[in-house]
């Protein structure tokens, strides 16, 4: 079973490498947006799905990565990839002190604290000189959008693989334990603060790395485009649809939802927000555990029926 899984994974990745250069502009950008959101959803899933700290401000790091890249590209001769990498590093580094501070807050306090942080940075970007104020920064027109695609593909694959590893590791178990009950986890020997901060760093580095690609892809950054919490909204909706705190959830949800989002975002931005808002509500009420756990349950039922004599492994 695991061997088949790895094989499928390799084939899919190979196809994702080979197809886009042959596809037209529309499909190429669809591929890009899908991977972008899948990766963002994986980022959100670590701190919110595994560690149980719901954040509505992970977009902070996405914006940070985008701005770092824009500044690097416009003020230095360095290529955007260096900027994007730097954006990831800056985000991860910023997440260390921020994690120690913010993760003392729980539930609504953490969620709103992060939302407030994203707004604060948005306002800051709006009023500072180096960020170009409300106008933002303009990057040289991206001659090679394909490079952004591959960059994002690489991060999405890493995010998926990383989540798989977390799910199968002691670290992942510790995160899930503290998600369920932080005090009990501590009395069972889990270093709760350290584990939470690690999760937060991962959840900051992923959007941080993605932001730079997005800046290069759009060829501009401004406070509204990269610090918008509707970016988090999409990652949240995708993760819930696919299955929160699961390995496959962000992938399933991200692939499904990006298609709707692409079709709607440009033409009907209001309908887009309403549909996503409504989707989050409907999912929580009707499909709270998401698709992935439902599939897993169905699969294991089928397997149990197919081989009644054989014990499950």
């Amino acid at each position: 079973m695991r061997r088949i899984g790895i094989l499928v994974f390799c084939v899919v990745v190979a196809l994702l490498i080979v197809i886009p250069p042959m596809a037209n502009g529309y499909y190429r950008s669809l591929f890009y947006i899908t991977l972008l959101y899948v990766a963002l959803a994986y980022g959100w899933n670590v701190i919110s799905g595994y560690a149980g700290y719901f954040s509505f401000g992970q977009v902070t790091f996405f914006g940070l990565g985008a701005y770092v890249t824009a500044i690097v590209v416009t003020k230095t001769p360095l290529p955007w990839e260096i900027g994007a990498l730097l954006g990831g590093v800056v985000s991860a580094a910023f997440a260390v002190p921020l994690g120690y501070l913010m993760l003392r807050l729980r539930g609504p306090f953490f969620a709103l604290g992060m939302l407030g942080l994203a707004r604060t940075l948005q306002v800051a970007a709006n009023s500072m000189g180096i960020t170009g104020g409300g106008q933002g920064l303009f990057l040289p027109p991206g001659s090679n959008a394909l490079s952004v695609y591959y960059w994002t593909l690489a991060i999405a694959v890493l995010a998926f693989a990383g989540t798989w590893l977390i799910d199968h590791s002691a670290f992942g178990l510790r995160l899930q334990a503290l998600r369920e009950d932080e005090q009990v986890a501590a009395t069972l020997g889990v270093h709760v603060t350290t584990q939470k901060v690690y999760a937060f760093i991962i959840s900051a580095a992923i959007p941080g790395l993605l932001g730079g690609g997005y800046a290069w892809y759009l060829t501009y950054v401004n406070p509204v485009s990269v610090f918008s919490t509707s970016i988090d909204l999409q990652a949240v909706a995708m993760t819930i649809l696919g299955g929160i705190g699961t390995v496959w959830g962000p992938l399933i949800g991200g692939v499904l939802i990006s298609q709707i989002s692409e079709a709607l975002a440009a033409q009907y931005p209001q309908a887009f927000l309403m549909i996503f808002g409504g989707l989050v509500v409907a999912l929580l009420v009707f499909l709270p555990r998401g698709i992935a756990p439902a599939c897993a349950a169905a699969l294991s039922r089928r397997r149990a029926r197919a081989k009644p004599a054989e014990a499950r492994t």
Binding site: S169, Q176, A177, A185, A186, G189
Partner: protein, 247 residues
């Protein structure tokens, strides 16, 4: 005589103006089973919270293996060898029974695989093995109590704090739990059990009994001494203690 494993030295803890613990002292040696009895609100849970690092004492000292552990984080105390259970079982409901136990085993096993293997052993010991792969939410109240104990044991503790392990159990289950606690001694694990009722079992399995009331120690001695202590029997336990010692 060996040095005491745990020393609680004149510990006081106040909440607002209320003294939940008022100058409580006690000692426990390796492999010893001590029961702390007292009515609800006597301060048993507060004492467990202080020893396990969930709360800090307002004053006084707690020493474990000759080192003061006041101010240590709960995880450091857990790793040092003090495990606890909670009065109302608090399983990680969405994790499997096995993983619930594996969390504790991670303090001494590096990989998840080895922690799970260690957890399986503990599950065998506590009779939860058949439920290993079920989510903890499937367990009955009694099984949850066992799971509490299993998780604590997975830490390989030297001292186990059992907060109201008997509460809510049927007489048969209480006997099973008593057997379990007596087995701890064979493994060299000391235990402090907090108990509100169930004097019959307490009298049988305890080496020593400490009586708490309104945050103060009002008696500390062998079961026979406690049973003979008129203050304890009459003031706080009515006839149940006499019945208990008679049976």
């Amino acid at each position: 005589m060996s040095a005491p494993l745990l020393v609680v030295d004149n510990v006081t803890r106040t909440f607002g103006g209320v003294r939940a613990l008022d100058g409580v002292s006690l000692e426990i040696r390796e492999g010893e089973i001590v029961s702390i009895i007292g009515p609800n609100g006597a301060g048993k849970t507060t004492l467990f919270n202080i020893v396990s690092g969930v709360l800090r004492p307002t004053s006084g000292d707690v020493r474990f293996m000759d080192r003061s552990i006041v101010g240590w984080s709960p995880q450091r105390i857990a790793a040092a060898g003090i495990a606890r259970t909670y009065q109302i079982a608090r399983p990680f409901v969405r994790l499997s029974v096995l993983d619930n136990v594996a969390v504790g085993a991670l303090t001494h096993e590096r990989t998840l695989e080895r922690a799970r293997a260690a957890a399986r052993e503990v599950l065998e010991m506590t009779g939860l093995a058949p439920y290993a792969d079920r989510p903890a939410s499937d367990l009955t109240i009694t099984q949850r109590k066992r799971l509490e104990a299993a998780r604590a044991l997975a830490l390989r503790p030297k001292l186990l704090l059992l907060d109201e392990v008997m509460a809510g159990l049927t007489p048969t289950e209480i006997d099973a739990m008593a057997v379990f606690i007596e087995q701890l001694r064979e493994r060299g694990i000391a235990a402090i059990g907090g108990v509100e009722h169930v004097m019959r079992v307490v009298m049988k399995i305890s080496h020593r009994i400490v009586v708490l009331d309104f945050g103060k120690t009002i008696a500390d001695g062998t079961p026979a001494e406690i049973a003979a202590d008129p203050r304890v029997g009459e003031a706080y336990f009515g006839t149940s203690l006499e019945e208990a010692s008679a049976s």
